[in-house]
């Protein structure tokens, strides 16, 4: 897994790489993929960080130092060593090429190449089963995407057996599925290689990136198959159902949780915001509350979230509450209302403020009488009293980053 520069996530990537951007209040993006690995019983992991790797390294050291070398398990962090020249990693393929020696150390048959900035729950065991069943040398995870979104991805063409027969990187006019002119098959950037093929490809080509340079050539040479993730992926889960008549809550095992089909590449600010919003609500698109597919992280020590002032009758009301939201440890909602939002650790929202549809990162203080809507507030930002964000985008554009969908991104430097 390499960590890209993340230009499209600026200013969030000012001080950290994409995989170490906070997500869902208490996680970093990379936790999602690493959790998928251990939930799929994959215990040999190499992380190939790229730019600004400090936050990532510290997090992995604090939270993911859980592998037993004695049992042959490891999580190795391999920043660019410049062993093969003076270059940084120049792409996903290049990062592995520069570290090819680690693949010779164990008795490895299959290599899974993942990205540290995707949000999904994928059972890689099913992926490997499919790869073997098809007799594939390379298998690419694919997802049906709405044609509207397709030009952002590598688009894959398959035959009726799902063998890859065409590949276009970010096409302007994407090929659609036979029988469904609104959908295209996009590469998820999740690859499984037979180790011999991977070594051959890396030795015989000088492509830097699997998606851009290598896949478009390799499917002519060896059998490459597409793995229809939405159809094949299956995460079982325990859900709780309350009987309306008796009020009794009972656990029920379902063989395929709804988020088995969820996948999102958090490549730009709009999709980052949207992925966080997908966590909120009664029956969220991506559920962090399951038991069968836990997402782990390094949990910081903070006191429980606190909501204070209960003066609903005052005019204006001074009541601290959070609705349809995730609120992390250390947060204090002091006479303020938070709705449809994700609050990371240690966020203070002061009286008479309203925060809606927003992502608020660690150590943020939002002063009194603020009105914040559809915003991403980066860590350690101090929002002064009476600030309005997301209410008038033409004003916001003068001071902050505003995304194409109208999400306002605020960084600590904006109020310095």
């Amino acid at each position: 897994m390499a960590g890209g520069r993340g230009q499209r996530l600026m200013p969030l990537t000012k001080r950290r790489s994409k995989p170490s951007i906070p997500f869902g209040g208490i996680y970093l993006l990379i936790d999602i993929t690493l959790s998928n690995c251990i939930n799929s019983q994959i215990y040999k992991i190499a992380v190939l960080p790229q730019y600004k790797g400090q936050t990532l390294m510290e997090h992995l050291d604090a939270g993911w130092n859980i592998f037993s070398r004695a049992l042959g398990h490891y999580l190795k962090v391999l920043p660019p060593q410049q062993q093969l020249g003076d270059m940084w990693y120049r792409g996903t393929a290049d990062s592995i090429r520069q570290n090819i020696h680690i693949l010779n150390q164990d008795d490895i048959e299959l290599v899974l190449v993942l990205s540290g900035d995707h949000v999904y729950k994928m059972d890689y065991r099913l992926f490997a089963g499919y790869h073997r069943e098809k007799g594939a040398m390379v298998t690419v995870g694919v997802i049906e995407v709405n044609k509207k979104m397709a030009s952002r991805y590598g688009i894959i063409e398959v035959d009726s057996d799902f063998r890859v027969v065409g590949f276009e990187e970010k096409p302007e006019h994407p090929k659609t599925l036979p029988g469904d002119p609104d959908k295209s098959l996009a590469s998820m950037g999740v690859y499984l290689f037979d180790i011999s093929t991977l070594k051959d490809v890396l030795a015989n080509t000088d492509g830097m990136d699997f998606g851009k340079d290598i896949l478009p050539g390799v499917f002519h040479e060896v059998p490459v198959f597409a793995y229809p993730y939405k159809m094949e992926n299956r995460i079982e889960e325990i859900i709780h159902v309350t009987d309306e008549a008796t009020g009794k809550r009972a656990a029920r095992l379902i063989d395929r949780a709804r988020d088995s089909a969820y996948w999102r590449d958090v490549g730009d600010l709009d999709s980052y915001w949207n992925a966080n919003m997908d966590l909120t609500g009664v029956d969220p698109y991506f559920n962090l509350y399951g038991q069968k597919w836990p997402v782990r992280t390094f949990q910081k020590q903070y006191p429980p979230a606190k909501m204070v002032f209960a003066s609903e009758a005052e005019d204006p009301p001074r009541a601290g509450k959070a609705l349809d939201s995730l609120v992390s440890h250390g947060c204090v909602l002091s006479g303020s209302v938070v709705r449809n939002s994700v609050l990371s650790y240690n966020v203070v929202v002061q009286s008479w403020s309203l925060v809606e549809e927003s992502v608020v990162m660690e150590d943020v203080v939002i002063g009194r009488n603020c009105r914040i809507k559809k915003a991403i507030i980066a860590n350690q930002t101090r929002v002064p009293a009476n600030t309005h964000i997301g209410m008038d985008l033409s004003e916001d554009r003068k001071r902050f980053t505003v995304t194409p969908r109208g999400i306002v991104v605020v960084d600590r430097d904006d109020f310095a």
């Binding site: 915001w273 919003m277 449809n340 809606e356 559809k374 209410m391 008038d392 194409p404 969908r405 109208g406």
Partner: protein, 135 residues
Amino acid sequence: MSVEREKMAKILIIDDQPYIRETVSEELGDEGYEVAVAADVTSVQKDLVSTRPDLVLLDLYLEGMDGFKVLREIKVREPGLPVIIFTAYDSYLDDPRLARADGYVIKSADFGELKRKIKDVLRQKQQSPPKGESG
């Protein structure tokens, strides 16, 4: 409903963000549409009666009521009235609760797609009898 020329169609924008109401009104006004706005969803029923729109642009996240419910209510009251979902979220593109909507446009600084979709939906409406078609 009387058949009006496409350019003269009246569009009701339901969105709780004043900025969106203003900018979208301006953009659509420049295209020759007549525009009405509503922020408060409790008044949708009233607004439908008083403005008699030819098309509704509906945001999904609205204070006090969700857009899904508003869509359902509109389609019960006025099955032939086209509704285009206009939202910052892409999560609901394939949501079955929106199957009866006539279009889904993700908010963007560029209004081209919205304008094209409105045109398409109004054209379809003129060509087909008033029935809850999906697009």
